[in-house]
Amino acid sequence: MEAGELLERFEAFVASEGKIESDSWMPDAYRKTLVRQISQHAHSEIIGMQPEGNWLTRAPSLRRKAILLAKVQDEAGHGLYLYAAAETLGTSRDEMVDALLDGTAKYSSIFNYPTPTWADIGAIGWLVDGAAIMNQVPLCRCSYGPYARAMKRVCKEESFHQRQGFDILVTLCRGSDAQRAMAQDALDRWWWPSLMMFGPHDGDSPHSATSMRWRIKRFSNDELRQRFVDVTVPQAHFLGLRIPDDELVYDDTTGHWKFGEPDWDEFQRVLAGDGPCNAERIERRTRAHVDGAWVREAAEAYAAKHVAAPAA
């Protein structure tokens, strides 16, 4: 079959909600887009363990510590589901890890912000996992089967992440003035970076249209951002917290919250590597990778020995 005909068939197949598998024919650009998206998603899960990991030894109770540990473990698992999904497209784990460590691969800009207080752990669960869920639920219907199936597992596990974060904030907001102030301060710092998690405006998002046509993406960045604002504002009000946006106002005619403009210069800066914690995050990941080299080597050596001399 000719390339043109293959492409035509592919386009018709995904347009009719057909699922592509690793052994299906796919255009190079589809494969490349998915490798980029899935590996960056995986990197985000892995790097995303660091801001929360910062509080594992300092959680305010044994219960909170067990919960946070379980959440961070889940994020590691999400990274592994996703790396494996990317590997089905013919890329290797080593290539992906190298690209993360040498800076050629990106990860979500949100994880380059610091977590100076315990309330940040609440804000991350509530807002960051909340935004992630908003992005990930439609990905469960992605045209690429292995990615869609990985996202189903991830989404099922995410629901506790958001609730534990909100639960932390409910507790703080029912506490002392100082605790409420801490919660407000966390919201003030995490609100705008959370809105940036949905990516640039639709008009500034050059690959969006193709991803929509290929059924990788289902909703535009701006649609998802609006949805996030609409469900989150009432939750903030319940907590008695103020969203740090003077332009935030409910629009009776549309039934949506109007909101201000995130600082897109900041978004670009952080994405380009110049956020508060970019260097620290990559330095730490690199150190963990280098420190773990002997484990990988030992496992390889052990496996090779077993192939050479199978057990009796």
Binding site: G18, K19, E21, R63, A66, I67, A70, D74, G145, A148, R149, E157, S159, F160, Q162, R163, Q164, F166, D167, V170, V231, P234, Q235, F238
Partner: protein
């Protein structure tokens, strides 16, 4: 030799194990699996894998392997009380 048979019921779903089949090679295993396991249109796709390639956990180890997950209710969203009036969480 024995082969393990996995059926994908519909496009997009996982392949799930449905049973085993006897066949002398992969091609025959595929044909036999089709005849034995998909006579009622159960499949969108089939996998056959040599049974010897399966690495299985020992059921006797089930406690050691899986019991530690049992007392961690906080991994489930229902563990958290969502206050009245809060929605979309």
């Amino acid at each position: 030799m024995l082969w393990e048979v996995f059926v994908r019921a519909r496009g997009g779903l996982h392949h799930a194990h449905v049973g085993s089949i006897h066949a002398s090679d992969a091609e025959l295993a595929m044909e036999n699996a089709r005849d034995v396991f998909t006579r009622r249109g159960e499949a969108a796709s089939l996998w056959v894998v040599p049974s010897t390639a399966i690495v299985a956990s020992d059921p006797a180890d089930a406690d050691v392997l899986f019991e530690p997950a049992m007392d961690k209710e906080f991994r489930h969203p229902t563990y958290y009380e969502v206050p009245d009036g809060v929605t979309n969480l």
